[in-house]
Structure formats: C-alpha cells, structure tokens
C-alpha cells in the first residue's frame, strides 16, 4: 500500500513537471466548463421561454374571464365570437403543452436542439405538426455538434486520457530503462496500475468538482446526479482499462499513442458512424407520407362527407356520444357536427402518428441491438436519458401533447353534443384540464 502511494506521489511530480499534460488538463477543464455552461444557458433559455408562454396564457385567461365577468361573449371587434359555446371557449382556453427542461440539462444537451419543446394545442393539432419544429438554430452548428458536457465526457475525456497515459511505461521503453523498473518493482502490473490510478483519481475528482458546481446551481442533488456521475466513472474506467492493456503490451510511447488514438477513432468515430450509416440504409429518412395523407387528403375527404355520415362515424368512434342530448335529437345540428369533425381527424392523425412512432421504434431497436459493440453510443444515450434530452424524453412529450388533444376533442364533443352553455367556472375547468392533459 505504501508503495502504491509512493508511486502515485511520483506520478504527481511527473505530471506537474509536464507542461504538455498540464495544459491539456487545463484545456479539458475549460472545455468541460464551457460545455456545462452551454447546457446551463440552454436550460435557462428554455425556462425563460416557457415562463413567457405561461405569462401570455395567464393574460389570455384573465381576458376571457373578464368577458364572462362583464357578461360579454367575446372581444368587441369580433362580434361573431361567443365564448359561451364550447367550441369558442375551448378555442380560447390556453392549451400550451410544455416540455420543461430537466434540471440535469447542463450535463447533456443531447437531442434537445432537434425537437420543439412547446406547442399551442388546438383540437385539430397532431403530434407531428410543423409548429413543433425545433428552435431556430444554425444547422451547420448543429451538424458540427454542440460542445456540451456529454461531448466533453464521451469524446474529449478519452483524448485527454491518451495524452496523460500514452507515455506511461512507453517513455521507459523509449529510453531503455524499462528493465530497471522491473528490478525496482517486483510487479510491473502494480506499478502500471498505480500510475494509472493517479490519473483516474485525478480525472474522476476533477469531474466530480465541476459537476457538483452545476448540480448545486441547478439543484439536482443527489438522485439522478449520482447515477450520472457513476455512469461517467464507469465510462472513464473502461477507457483506462483498455489503455492499461495497450501500455502493458506496448513497445514505446509512439506505438502506444498510435494504438490508443486508433482505438479512440474506432469506438468514437468509425463504429458509431458505421451504425448510423447502416441504420439509414435499413430505415431511410422518413418523408411521412402516411401522416401527410392523414393530415391533408384524408381530412379533406371527411369535409366532403354528408352531415349524416359524419354523425354516424362520430358515434361509432366515440360511443359515449350516444348518451348526449344531440344524439337523441331527431334533427341534426350542422354546426355541432361541423365543429366535431376534429374528433374524426384526431383518430386519423393518431393512427398515422402511431405508424411513424413504430417505424422510429424499429430504428431505435436496431440501434440498441448494436450497443454491445458500439458502447459510446450506448453511453451517449444513457447520459441523454438521465438528463431528459434523449429521443424518448421527446416521445413522452409527444404523448403529453396527444393527451391534451384527446382531452380537447373529448370535451368539445361532450359539451357541444350536450349543448352546454359555458360559464366562467366551466371555462376554468377547461383551462385546468388542458394543463398537460392532467
């Protein structure tokens, strides 16, 4: 044990006298802070945007409740609007479905910049509407990639490890005194292990300090944060183990550096790139024609149907409507049926969206099945998942949107068919029902 500490002590001296290694570590810390700050800025920006939307919604609610209080049916300059009807009241009840960013976002921006995170839902919305596009951003910057903390961990940390480790046992071989080491240290493995341990502890400790600063800033301690840190430690350990074997069997610094860099290139660039290419070949980029058909052609075909047919289809799709007042009426109210057609389009869109989600899931399954030889992508998606910025976080968000659409449609159909007159209390019930569908 004493020997281990002595070796670690010597390694510290070696490290502190190597400007190349010191500068590399400082640059790495700089990149990590930059990445953390990028994530933190995005978190703050998204929260600010969400607060703006919520404030605007509050204004709308105050405006509409003001109409109810004043006995008005809508804005003075739009006399055709009547908020006592379910159709208009539901239209005015704000239904912003928001994906509040996880406080863990500073640790991985992940796919957050590829998806929208707020949507104003109407009863004819769907989960793949064009207004759910991602934030306005420079596409070249996105293609090059954002320097976030997960990038620093997944790609730069192994690079830093190469810089710190490539000449361990290599320098001794270069200078020809590796035999001397064998004389002084009965176990060359322990000697190598101790030197590696110093850098492992150095990196793990540095990362913990950096991460703690941002964990305190975003108040994410302990929970998921610990899981994320352990994941990072495991990732670091795997690289260290691989490099340990390279150095153990190495033939000199240059030889070791070449092997290490090749390993990095293979696991960080070539294999993920190859999987990406194969996934694209097996599941080419989707033009979503099924969805386009549902949102346009199929929807327009519904408009051409007779009122009676639409009514029958609505009753078939929503059997509960049979108990409503309008279902029992012998005469058909065209405006009620017209306003209810979104009930049918919603069914169409849901079916089309499900097809897309299933295709995407097939692609994801393919990606997941390759993880045993593509560990970097696995770690990447695990980090994203812990930080709420992976594909599935946004799929859950789409499910939330669909829940609100369903709620809107359900209330519209139920209240229109029951010929309800909406008052302030009912309006506020709508508002409450549309808060992320809960």
């Amino acid at each position: 044990m004493k020997q281990l500490f002595t070796i670690i002590q010597y390694e510290f001296r070696h490290f502190s006298r190597s400007p190349f290694k010191m500068v590399s570590l400082i640059l790495f810390i700089g990149a990590a802070v930059y990445g953390l700050q990028n994530g933190y800025t995005l978190l703050k920006r998204q929260n600010t945007e969400i607060e703006t939307i919520q404030a605007k919604n509050k204004e709308t609610i105050a405006e509409v409740t003001g109409w109810y209080d004043a006995g008005k049916k809508g804005p003075d300059d739009k006399p055709w609007i009547d908020v006592t009807t379910p159709m208009r009241a539901i239209w005015y009840a704000p239904a912003s479905v928001l994906k509040a960013p996880s406080s863990m976002m500073p640790f991985s921006i992940g796919q957050a910049e590829q998806f929208g995170y707020y949507k104003q839902v109407t009863n004819s919305s769907s989960t793949f509407d064009a207004d759910l596009a991602e934030e306005i951003a420079n596409p070249e910057r996105l293609a090059i990639g954002t320097l976030d903390f997960s990038f620093v961990i997944l790609y730069l940390l192994p690079v830093l490890a190469i810089i710190l480790l490539f000449n361990i046992a290599g320098l001794e071989r270069d200078l020809g005194f590796d035999q001397l080491i064998r004389v002084n240290h009965p176990s060359i493995r322990k000697w190598l292990f101790s030197r590696f341990a110093f850098y492992f502890l150095l990196l793990s400790g540095t990362l913990l300090i950096l991460m703690l600063v941002y964990a305190v800033r975003t108040n994410v301690l302990p929970g998921t944060f610990i899981l994320l840190y352990l994941l990072i430690v495991l990732y670091t350990l795997l690289w260290f183990v691989a490099f340990y074997f390279i150095n153990h069997k190495g033939k000199g610094s240059a030889n070791q550096a070449i092997k290490m860099v090749s390993l990095w290139l293979l696991f960080c660039v070539v294999i993920p790139g190859g999987i990406h290419q194969l996934a694209s070949l097996k599941y080419p980029g989707n033009y979503m024609t099924d969805y386009l058909d549902a949102s346009r052609d199929e929807t327009y075909k519904l408009y051409d149907l007779s009122v009676d047919t639409v009514k029958q289809r609505l009753l078939a799709a929503y059997p509960d409507l049979a108990r409503t007042q309008h279902a029992k009426d012998t005469a058909i109210d065209e405006s009620i049926i017209g306003n209810s057609s979104s009930g049918l389009t919603n069914k169409l869109m849901k079916a089309a969206a499900l097809t897309i989600e299933n295709t995407n899931e097939d692609k994801n399954r393919f990606i997941r099945n390759t993880c045993w030889f593509n560990p970097v992508s696995w770690f990447q998606n695990r980090m994203n998942a812990l930080c709420g910025t992976d594909y599935y976080a946004y799929r859950r968000y789409r499910a939330d949107i669909q829940a609100v659409i369903d709620k809107k449609v359900e209330l519209l159909l139920h209240d229109s068919w029951n010929k309800e007159t909406v008052d302030k209390k009912r309006f506020m019930e709508y508002v409450s029902a549309f808060k992320n569908g809960k």
């Binding site: 306005i136 550096a257 993920p272 980029g285 033009y287 024609t289 594909y391």
Partner: protein, 468 residues
C-alpha cells in the same frame, strides 16, 4: 528530391503492415463510397415516391374552391444531391418536408435526426468522415517519425553532410506522405464518379474536382506540418504528441468551440420571439402604424375606385380573391423582413465561422466539403427560397382564379380538376457550382494560404533545425 520521394515510397512499400493498411483503406473507402451512393439513391428514390404521391393527389383533386385548394396546399421535399453521398453536411439535421399553403409559411420539418436515438456525433460513415478524420490521422502516423527517426539513428546528419538540403528532405518526405493521401483520395473520388457516372454532369464533375482540390490542399498542410514537427522536435514521441494535439484542436475542439461562439456573437431570435414579431407586423403593419383593418379598408377603396363602383357587390370580379392575394402579399413582405433577418444572421454566423479557417484549416475544409457537395447551409437556404417562391406562385394562381375565375361571390363555387392539373409542380434546381462558389472563396483562399504558409515555414526554418 525525386530520388528521396522514390526511396520513401520504396521503404513504405517494404512495410508489410502498411501494405495491409493500404489495402484495408482502399477496400474500406470503396465500400463506404458505395454504401454512401446506395443510401443516397435510396433516399432520392423515397423522395421521388413521396413527391409523385403528393402530386398525384393534387392532380386527382375533385372540383374544389381555389381558396380551399390553397388550404389543401402542397408539399416540397428536399432532394439530396449526388455528391451528398460523399458529404451529407447538414442534411440529417434539417427537415426534409415543407408544407406549402395559403396564409402561412411553414417550417421545414421531419429531420432524420429527430426520427431516432442519437447515434454518431461525427455523422454517418460516409467518405467525408474517413477523408476528414481518419486519413489525415493516418498521414500523421506516417509522417511523425519520418525525420525524427533519421535524427535518432544519426542518419539525418549523414544525409545533410552528403549534400542533401534539409528543406528538400522535409519537402520530399512530406510529399511522399501527401502522395499516399492523394492516392486514397483519388480512389474514393474515382469510385464516386465511376459508380455515379449516369448522375454526374459537368457541374457535378466541377464540384468533384473542387472537392479533390480542397482535400488535396488539406492533406498537403497536414503532411508538411507533421514532417516539419518531426524534423523540429527531438523525438518521435514529441513530434507525434504535438501533431496529435494539433489534430485534436483542429478537428474536435475548435470547430465546436467556434461554432458555439458564432452563435453567441450573432444570436438568433427564439422561435417564440420570431413568431410574435411576425404576428405583430402582420396585424399592426410593418411600420407599426398600418393595422390590418385599415389596410383592408384602403385596399377595398382602391379596388372600388379601379372598377368605378361603390359597393363590393357591384364588382365584376370576386373581391375575396383579390383581398386574400393582397393579404398574402403583405404576409410575403413580413416573411421577407423576418426570415430575411434570420437568414442574414445565419450568413453572418457562417462568415465568422469561415474566418476560423485563419487558425484552423480543418474548418475551411469542412465548409468547402459540404459546400461543393451541395449539402451546406447555403444550399439549404436556397431550397427554402425556391420553395417559398413556388408557394407564392401557387397561392397567387389560386387567388387569381378565385378573383377572376367566374364566380363573383360564393365560397362554394368550385373550379374543375383541369385547372388544378394545369398548376405546375415544384421543381427544385440545385444552384450551379459557379453561383454557389462565391460563398466558398474565403475557405479556398484560406486553405491555399495555409498551404503557402506551411511551405514558407519549412523553407525559412529548415536551416535552423538541429541535426541531432
């Protein structure tokens, strides 16, 4: 110099590992290029099927009111260029479907990146990935010991004493490594041209030649710099670690740092801010003093005066068609202002990014690689512009049919199928390389300057290099 290059090649050919690696690279590049072409063709086929499907729906429209048809709208599918199989650029990040309809200008959506879990941060295994990341690294591996090993064995001193100039030696060794890079480059580009011979026109060939030139310049810079470090530094390990540090800085570190910095120097508005600003301009007027109701009234008076009547009902045409077209044109101005502003910011960001080529030739290479492959931001914005122009033509045609088509009133009036069939489909034409290349002048110039600077560096400092 020729003799040194030949000797270097003879020595390289003697290394069995290198022969295997060369074979591996050639087969790998051939396979990757082939798969890139297959994937590209597959994507193009999908795009064509989607395009035909949507067009068929439009041509099969039953009699419909032209304004309803404007709401029915159309779709523009972003095509990929033949050279996207080499460098896909931003194609997986940007959406590929744009809905074109009346009243609104939609966003392009359904990017490939949003359709699955994250896979690779460096893009797909396309030739560009190998040509930009793997081959330069391999050239570094070939060059890092080229002079330093001669130094370590004492041969360098011997060579210089025999009359070889050190600068010539460095150039010769660098060129022999560079030729190796060129060989791999030509294999990749050759396969691309050979397998894509049907889809390659003069423009495509020019683009390919320019790509070849840009990569050749970059490889020259990398090979020469690595050889120079090899001569300048004391040991193999020092030259390798220094060149690796340069490679990491250039390819991994700086592009991302600088990319984020450009975003901070010229920030884009958030989508929410953008939407609100557009809505306000549309309702309150571009100058803030011309609200929509006043504009509407003024337009009505203008039309009544033009037809010399007092009431809309007395007009010989359908007033709604004209009103909607006027509103559409106002919306176009609002769009031009706001999207124009965003495009300006994006272009400024791009220009700042291109300037990073001053200290990072890899940034210039990346930019021209995407640019000449037709998969960069300029080509993307060009697609959006052409699609928007088509949308305007389409909606104008429909509104004019509504106005002058025969019905003075009536939203229920319908136009027959022949009219819809007669409306032209959207056809995107990729800008010619001549038109597009104006954007890449900075990149090519900076790459050339880097090549010149590294040449001068070797030329001017060779004499000062220690032989031991």
């Amino acid at each position: 110099m020729k003799q040194i290059i030949l000797n270097e090649w003879r020595m390289l050919l003697r290394v069995r590992v290198l022969a295997y690696l060369t074979l591996f690279f050639i087969v790998g590049l051939a396979l990757v290029t082939y798969l890139g072409i297959v994937q590209n063709n597959q994507q193009l086929e999908q795009q064509q099927v989607a395009k035909e499907h949507i067009r068929k729906q439009w041509e099969n429209l039953d009699a419909m009111n032209p304004h309803s048809a404007a709401h029915y709208g159309s779709y523009a599918f972003k095509p990929t260029t033949a050279l996207s199989s080499i460098d896909e650029g931003i194609n997986t990040i940007t959406g590929n479907v744009l809905r074109l309809e009346g009243h609104v200008q939609n966003e392009i959506v359904y990017s490939e990146a949003s359709q699955s879990l994250s896979v690779s941060k460096f893009g797909k295994l396309k030739p560009s990935l190998l040509l930009q990341y793997v081959i330069p690294l391999f050239l570094i591996f070939l060059a890092f010991a080229s002079v330093s090993s001669e130094k370590e064995t004492g041969r360098l001193k011997l060579l210089v004493f025999q009359g070889t100039s050190l600068s010539k030696l460095i150039f010769a060794k660098a060129l022999s490594v560079w030729f190796y890079g060129l060989l791999l480059l030509i294999v990749s580009v050759g396969i691309q041209v050979f397998l894509n011979v049907k889809g390659t026109d003069a423009d495509g060939l020019t683009r390919t030649a320019l790509l070849l030139l840009a990569y050749a310049l970059y490889y020259y810079i990398v090979a020469l710099l690595a050889t120079w470090f090899s001569a300048r530094l004391k040991s193999n390990a020092a030259s390798l670690s220094t060149m690796l540090a340069v490679w990491i800085l250039w390819t991994i570190f700086l592009p991302k740092i600088w990319g984020n910095t450009t975003d901070k120097l010229h920030p884009l508005p958030s989508r929410q801010e953008f939407k609100i600003a557009m809505q306000e301009d549309r309702s309150k007027g571009l100058d803030g003093h011309n609200p929509s109701d006043k504009r509407s009234e003024a337009f009505k008076q203008k039309i009544l005066a033009k037809y010399k009547v007092n009431k809309v009902e007395d007009l010989p045409i359908n007033y709604d068609g004209l009103r909607m077209q006027a509103d559409e044109e106002y919306g176009d101005d609002v769009w031009d202002k706001h999207f124009g502003n965003s495009y300006d910011i994006l272009q400024k960001q791009k220009q700042v990014y291109q300037l990073s080529g001053i200290f990072n030739p890899f940034a210039s290479l990346q930019s021209v690689s995407m640019g000449f492959s037709g998969s960069d931001m300029y080509h993307h914005l060009d697609f959006l512009r052409q699609a928007e122009n088509y949308r305007r033509d389409l909606i104008r045609t429909l509104n004019e049919k509504q106005a002058y088509g025969g019905s003075k009133t009536g939203e229920r009036w319908k136009e027959g199928n022949d009219f819809f069939k007669s409306v032209k489909d959207f056809k995107y034409s990729t800008p010619t390389v001549r038109r597009a290349s104006t954007h890449y002048g900075t990149d090519v110039l900076l790459l050339a300057l880097w090549a010149l600077a590294t040449t001068l560096l070797v030329w001017l400092t060779a004499k000062k290099i220690k032989l031991i």
